[in-house]
Symmetry: C2
Subunit: 463 residues, 2 copies
């Protein structure tokens, strides 16, 4: 990419074929591969076949659509770079539903280009991103006839529904997917002119607490004061989860948390964060949370316990004087390294069991599907490689960010394959991912094609 | 009633006319005077006219159906007993809806008699009871041509919907309703062979607490830990209303409560109370509440603060990882003498306002229609009179009970007319009041006719 060198062949190839790439992306986008709707299962399968054909055309080998018990996955590879590392490129070809359909300017599966943006469901999440590594591989294999390292390509069709069959599939296909690093083509950049690399995602575990009192709702006049009110008991339980300052008060909750290093805190302090703008946008007077940490640190890198839902008794219009029979709450914990989802459930259960609550029965039921936290080592060579390429592409170094959300695939690859995942994806937050009028900037596609070529080069030497 | 005297004329009259009284009660019961259903407004009015005609026939004077802005009331009087006290007899001619209609053995407005019980909606609540004083007055006026004291008769048609227009009506007709004592023909006896007199009802005030956090539900991963969660704030508020022991922890809550005297506690300890049976019926392992009082005392005579409903965030099937925008709760306080409903709302509001809850807006909104507590003096002559008559009728003295429920009419008469209300009604708890197959024991009707004659006699001397 340095201007003093002549244009590399792969670059010329990518430029020459842009119109074709756009037509191909449109073809891909026309497949309504909505994984959440059973009626669209055939479309998800059609998208898998489309990806497989496209990988074959790009020159990859061992291309196969594989069954998972749910929506299929696609695998392909090119593994002829002896003594070189192996990278697994990950992405997904399923898309979100399109409701509310009447808010779309154009039909969601009839892609149109307007001011260098391609509008369609899935354009940004994740079909546009998926095209970048495919076409980058094609450019290299068509011009150099080789890749600088071994590449496995792995795309799934159930990301938008939480990848229910993926953990079992990855476990059962460890040898096939074995690699030194995963590069994810699913995710966001910070801004059109500012790259980022996510260094960590929080894990998650969820549970439900139920408080059973009398067998039926009771008249609050006739029985109030005689029996424990399940709403009172639940409020005591829920209030006990935090101290006044906002710190989680469940004994042992923070025990496994790896403290943030000065370097990690410095990294997190670098991206601009406007507290006033956030308060205004959320319409709150104050931000609030665990003392001793900035709002960004709390949101990105400190574990939380949130009551996502609670309810008991009469909640309709008007008033009903009852002592309700039961009350319940849904709790979610977002976890940071090295908290274990199951251990956290056990701590919460023990905490609840030690509260003195006569006259009611309390049960704590974990919600299945806990996910461990994910964090990259700050000095991982894959991070350095990606950072160097992003700096070239944008003319400035990336922010090293974290995210309070949970990306189960990263934890899955780390736990099952023993490898980290570097995000290398070029969507932007304003591209209406999951909403009406989703679009992808064509500029991001061209930028990311070059990015993938460069990243493979960097990884070939660094890993 | 003493067996050595010859049968009094009124008694003979009541016995001779029993068949007619039954036919009249059936006529009355055929009117579907459901106050809750707008379609039945004409039926409620027809029931008012029926009562008015019946009072006229009984010999009362100044009979009138009076408008209230809602369902009408009926007034009548006989005020020729100079230098004698005036009693106002209260009851209601409206009835509850009949749903679920398919659980009725006979159509609810086609009264039938089976094993000396008359089955029909309103038989026990309150038309059967209302017939007793009307026919007792008729018997006295037809035989003695006079009453032993002045009687005003006041029946309403909106009791089953909370008597919304009654407070204004009573205030505007104070002179008309002026009296020395109210006798209520609406209520229950303890058992077929055991009378009772209710000495107190709790008052009530209700309010709603709303906690507003961010403008919209937020992703619990992206924003959890950065902002105050309205569910957390609400749980802290609700948990703060009681201490661990179950005592209300709102400062000043008990300040106005008149302590229970030894005599009052002794009265309450007399009726049999089977704690084990209650626990079994409610399916709870323990009863629970304010320490220092028995379960009966707590239920009957100690104020309570109950969370009747609370809710915030996602409560459906499954799970949704959110920090909700808002949460709210519905609180009801049952009050004992001399707590003031408005003052209690102010105390709760102050309590909530002193809690440190940054990042959310908390509002406390009283529900209209607070009712003050009601308590008879233990030595009230009206209580003594009723107790003496009940002892005669049942062959054993009544229990002096209390009730955690709220009977606004008693508080209304006390506040507006300055007089107490003695319950003198003969329904029994097993008579399916408000349920399918409501019935009234004819034996209760005959017993209560004699009871009213005797009560008027006693009150003529005692008041």
């Amino acid at each position: 990419m340095t201007s003093s060198n002549p244009t590399p062949q792969w670059q010329a190839y990518l430029e020459v074929h842009r119109d074709r790439f756009i037509e191909e992306l449109k073809d891909f986008l026309r497949i309504p591969s909505i994984s959440a709707l059973p009626d669209h299962a055939d479309d998800v399968a059609a998208a898998a076949r489309w990806v497989a054909r496209r990988l074959e055309r790009a020159g990859l080998e061992n291309v196969q659509v594989m069954a998972t018990g749910g929506h299929p996955v696609v695998y392909a590879d090119w593994c002829h770079a002896q003594d070189r590392p192996t990278v697994l490129i990950y992405g997904h070809f399923d898309v979100q539903p399109v409701d509310p359909i009447d808010l779309w300017t154009h039909p969601p599966f009839e892609p149109v280009i307007h001011e260098d943006r391609i509008f369609s469901r899935g354009a940004s999440d994740d079909k546009g991103n998926l095209m970048a590594p495919i076409t980058a591989l094609e450019a290299l294999l068509s011009t150099d006839r080789r890749l600088p390292l071994n590449v496995k390509f792995f795309a799934e069709g159930q990301e938008e529904i939480g990848s229910p069959q993926l953990p079992a599939f990855v476990r059962e296909n460890k040898a096939l997917l074995d690699c030194d690093l995963v590069v994810s083509a699913d995710g966001l950049q910070w801004a059109p002119d500012q790259p980022k690399i996510d260094m960590a995602y929080k894990g998650m575990t969820a549970l439900e607490i139920t408080v059973q009192g009398p067998a039926a709702d009771l008249h609050s006049g006739l029985y109030g004061g005689m029996v424990q009110n399940p709403n009172h008991a639940l409020a005591r339980i829920l209030a006990s989860f935090h101290d006044d300052s906002g710190r989680v008060a469940v004994e042992g909750f923070y025990d496994a948390v790896v403290p943030l290093t000065a370097e990690a805190r410095e990294q997190m302090a670098r991206p601009p964060f406007d507290e006033g703008a956030l308060k205004q946008r959320l319409q709150v007077d104050d931000l609030f949370g665990e003392p001793g940490y900035t709002a960004v640190e709390r949101g990105w890198a400190r574990p939380t316990l949130e009551i996502c839902g609670m309810g008991g008794g009469f909640q309709g219009e008007g008033f009903k004087g009852i002592v309700p029979a039961r009350a319940s709450a849904k709790i979610s914990c977002r976890l940071t390294a090295d908290q274990d989802p199951d251990a956290i459930v056990r701590l919460i259960r023990r905490h609840v069991e030690t509260l003195p609550l006569p006259g009611v029965k309390v049960s704590v039921t974990p919600v299945e599907g806990g996910v461990g936290p994910y964090a990259m080592p700050l000095d991982h060579p894959g991070v350095h490689a990606a950072a160097r390429v992003l700096a070239e592409l944008y003319g400035k170094p990336p922010y090293f960010t974290r995210c309070g959300g949970t990306i189960p695939i990263c934890t899955l690859f780390l736990k099952t394959l023993g490898v980290y995942t570097v995000g290398f994806s070029f969507s932007l937050e304003d591209e209406n991912l999951h909403g009406p009028d989703e679009y992808f900037r064509l500029e991001s596609l061209w930028r990311s094609q070059a990015g993938y070529v460069r990243l493979l080069d960097e990884l070939a030497d660094m890993l």
